[in-house]
Point group: C2
Chain length 444, copies 2
């Protein structure tokens, strides 16, 4: 058989059901799919691509680590352009005096497209090959991401306020429906979705209609929930129940619903999430930076809830590096519970790969390196002073590797980063565009 891409000479962290690790492993790809995952045959020459194939399509991992491309379960990509605009402020001042005004003035198709390209560049260079995003003007995010070769679940934002591109909130469901229609068959890599902002910014009627739309179309329903203590208190005051219980009452919770943040949960909330099979996007860095708190992830995992990792938007993180996010996730729960055994490295890697994929409905497509799955994978260069010696690759991946150690990123069989450089995107042009828009935003 002739392959389109072979990666060899690395330790493979498959993230299959038994978390197999294959030393001196080899992965062969045909089209966008993985067709072999195994030990390199000893003393046998590598299978080589047929005549006329480009020799670059054999990637030598140089003894490094080969793992699934990371899955970022929550982002607002255009907010890369608001990174560092305002920090360290009380939440209301940060939002009302900085972020919302900047969004009101500057969110337009050009900004959204540039921010999405900038975010895609950062994600690919740091090993993320799938993301789950929600914002306004999302069709322009989709156009940009479509160019990049990334895999993405994208949702047009639904909120009961005038929003960029949807000045009349009574049109918010229609705009979400239009987005689904535009992208339903456009590309296997762009998977449209519905993104309701939150239970406190959408009425029950809006929530119901949006959920109906996502159920009818069979797409993921994303929603921020129980992010802050304040939100939970308000929901109790207004509806007499917690935000999760309220969403359950409205009929939102099922296996196609992604609950983002889920920081302030009661035991009953956790049982409700488990019983409905809703999934969770854990965003530890954003939750800490905004002072929201620390989500009870060990308790969620105890109840077998599917938890993925997310970075959130760059205004509240301030990066899209999931390697750093894994490190943080592995540590903060140990610190909070004073227990070094919770969220071990293997658990955290699964959150950033296969469980992240499952959380956003792509568990059969990506998130692990197995025959038949899409060839979404990264190669880590471990010949670096902070990565030798290498005793346990899982430990290095979580505690020592950073985005800058990614040598190759491959999505759907396409090499999008090679030797640490983007292969398909013009980075200088993207950076120039970002700086141009940044100048406008700085002016106010």
């Amino acid at each position: 058989m002739v392959y389109d891409l072979i990666i060899h000479n690395g330790t493979i962290l498959t993230q299959n059901d038994t978390s197999d690790v294959i030393e001196d492993g080899m992965i062969c790809v045909k089209g966008s799919r993985i067709v072999r995952v195994e030990s390199s045959p000893p003393d046998t020459p590598l299978p080589v691509p047929g005549k006329g194939m480009n020799g670059d399509k054999i990637i030598d991992a140089r003894g490094g680590i080969i793992m699934p491309g990371l899955v970022n379960t929550h982002s607002h990509l255009p907010m890369t352009l608001l990174r560092g605009l305002a920090d360290d402020l009380p939440l209301e001042i940060w939002l009302n005096e900085h972020i919302f005004p900047a969004e009101g003035r500057h969110v337009n198709p050009d900004m959204v497209r540039t921010g999405a390209l900038l975010g895609a560049a950062e994600m690919l260079l740091s090993g993320t090959t799938t993301c789950c995003d929600g914002y306004f003007h999302e069709t322009h995010v989709a156009e940009a991401i479509y160019q990049t070769g990334l895999r993405a679940v994208l949702g047009q934002g639904v909120i009961d306020f005038p929003a960029p591109g949807v000045p009349d909130p009574s049109r918010n469901i229609q705009s979400a429906a239009d987005f689904l229609k535009q992208w339903e068959d456009r590309s296997p890599l762009i998977i449209p979705s519905v993104f309701c902002h939150s239970p406190y910014t959408c009425s029950a009627k809006t929530l119901e209609a949006a959920k109906q739309l996502s159920s009818d179309q069979g797409v993921l329903f994303q929603i921020h929930v129980a992010e802050t203590r304040n939100e939970t208190g308000q929901c109790l005051a207004e509806h007499g129940v917690s935000p999760v219980a309220y969403l359950d009452q409205v009929g939102i919770l099922d296996k196609n619903t992604l609950l983002i943040h889920a920081v302030h949960l009661s035991e009953t909330d956790i049982s409700t999430i488990a019983a409905t099979a809703a999934t969770v996007s854990h965003n530890p860095e954003s939750n800490m930076k905004l002072g929201a708190g620390i989500a009870p992830v060990p308790a969620l995992l105890e109840e077998k809830i599917t938890v993925g990792l997310g970075t959130d938007g760059c205004a509240s993180n301030n990066d899209l590096d999931l390697f750093g996010e894994m490190d943080t996730a592995a540590k903060i729960h140990k610190g909070r519970l004073e227990d070094p055994t919770v969220l071990d490295a293997e658990t955290v890697i699964r959150m950033a790969t296969i469980n992240g994929a499952r959380a956003i409905g792509l568990g059969d497509i990506t998130g692990s390196l197995e025959v038949g799955k899409q060839a979404d994978m990264v190669v880590l260069d471990t010949h670096r002073p902070h990565l030798v010696p290498l005793y346990h690759p899982e430990s290095h991946v979580v505690y020592s590797v950073r985005g800058a150690d990614v040598a190759y990123s491959v999505a759907a069989g396409q090499i999008l980063v090679a030797q640490g450089k983007l292969t398909t995107l013009n980075l200088d042009e993207i950076i120039d565009d970002a700086m141009r828009i940044g100048k406008l935003i700085r002016l106010g």
Copy 2:
């Protein structure tokens, strides 16, 4: 005047007493000292080195950030070779079944020297130009670090057990004294110190003698204290007081004492530290990873205690990247207290620079970019997708920059990293040595 080194075309974060930020700044160095820190004169050609000087000695920061070299106030450099050997285990099993046995078998001059070089490579590449270290066979750490050009406060470990290089604990003070003598006048960059392991591994007699030695020689006294809840409980049971109160009783606390970890502190402990002017090394990633907890840093800062940042050894972090440590420090206290305003970016940068320098007794020498101080500085390349646009350099430094963004590291006026590569160390050789020793350690 002819300079030996000029850095220009960057935003300077001086970390002087008023935290001045100089846009389009220029720093001129003569020998090891800073002689000018100012805005680049408009329309004036740059001052150029005299005839015959190497043109490389003008560094163009390309619009990036110029800041003091970072100060790591707590490391055990040889433990770079134990990075990832064991993780996610209960503290006692991790120590007694993994770390201590590996140390007992493998800590020797060759291991210590190689681990120190590996650590130095990682630190320089990630922007740290000063560290404060404690281990056994510390004279071999000192020999290695002396080669690298790093600035370092180094302490020979004192513990009341047989230790590598000091099989007879009754010789522990003598071995510390010998180390001080060996290094007292050897190099302005290697500053010897006394490092007592902890109040629970050293008797009162040992603590007193070690403190006497450090006071007589006028050197820093380093000690781990109040790291875990267990330690605090044991101290209360044994001595009837907290670890900090116990050290105070024994006469250890004064402005030349660095308290490492300081996680489990009462309000009285905090007042005692403030009253005695002892300083603190905050190691958030290690404290979380080992399940020790989260130190009450906002309360320490409230009492005007000098707090620096440290990574701890690589077996419990697992890296030496202070940019990542700044990010963590800035976030965890916000998360724990549910307050996004604590430990703002500027405060955290000072912990990693001038206040770290003060914490280890080098506040007059390094940690800020001011005329008369040593030329210890780094240049960050901000022309990267995760660092544009740039609204507030302090925000980027803490929340978005990572070690891999360091373009230049300079210590005492010497360029040790240029364009992201080590200039004086043979990295391949160091990595080969580390892998050779790692193989032995893996065999047990």
